[in-house]
Symmetry: C2
Subunit: 152 residues, 2 copies
DNA sequence: ATGAGTGCAAAGGCTTTGCATTAGG
DNA sequence: CCTAATGCAAAGCCTTTGCACTCAT
């Protein structure tokens, strides 16, 4: 819900708390990163973040993204294979997946019907258990062509 | 089916054909790469490939992997986020997914029950269609801890 | 005050590229 | 034969790190 003031405020408090929990401060740069990621409907690359926050040094972006990741506020997304992309941790947003365009690399968030997620989780849980694997979560991407690329 | 002679032979012919189709030669280095990938039960990193084929220069590995990818024989796998991993294109193997250990980065191949795959594809198809997205395939990873890491 | 955070610039590490040589068809 | 492929080394590019300065608590 980008732009929702109450939600943004709560996100802010959550961020401060989780950072404090890992012995980190909630600085303006970090708040800015959280804000930028929260305002986006898709995972952002470093260039995109730098574009959104002109003047913030790359090193600060990298360093703080790492800190935010360790605090469980941000997660790295494996996209096509070009650049690292970042989004808010899933428990701060909604469980969702990514639609990745193989032509232009565009990444868009998508959600699946809850029933599908449930049956999928059940199946994955069985497979993981059979392999002695401790399943934490799943990652599902739709790979194909976005509207623009399919047409052009 | 690693090690199956007949299958290896057919793979060889397929590789030669697809390379020729894109105007590339099937050289010994490329054959070696296909062989190494075919013999593995999980996606390989460049270091692993170099280990399996001592003496092959890195530049050749990178360059030929790119060619093989363009010929539709090999595909890059998005793993945790450390190194690029490569495996044979899916139509040369079996439809499968990856179990990724967040602790050690290990990637293992896993397959899901056909019924699960079918219902998943059906759902994804609907979602994609609703977004004007031309779905080519899906990518599903089980993320968690492998047996070794969960215990240690 | 006082250690964490910041910014700039330099260093790292995986990956790509230039060029002369070798080999595939 | 003639062009593509190879191999070595150098260059690229995203990312990380060192260090002195500044800000948060």
């Amino acid at each position: 819900m980008p732009g929702n003031l109450a939600a943004v405020d709560e996100l802010d408090r959550t961020a401060a708390t989780r950072l404090r929990d890992v012995g980190q401060r909630y600085t303006s740069n970090r708040a800015a990163l959280v804000e930028v990621l929260a305002a986006s409907s898709h995972p952002l690359t470093i260039p995109e973040i730098l574009e959104a926050r002109r003047g913030m040094p790359q090193s600060s972006v990298y360093r703080n993204l790492t800190v935010l990741e360790e605090a469980g506020l941000v997660q790295r997304v494996a996209s096509s294979d070009e650049w690292a992309r970042f989004e808010l941790a899933e428990d701060l947003t909604e469980h969702h997946h990514h639609q990745i365009c193989t032509s232009c690399g565009q990444v868009r968030d998508v959600t699946l019907p809850p029933a599908v997620e449930r049956s999928l989780d059940a199946s994955l849980g069985k497979v993981a258990a059979a392999n002695g694997f401790k399943l934490q979560h799943h990652r599902l991407d739709l790979v194909g062509l976005c509207g623009d690329c399919a047409t052009g």
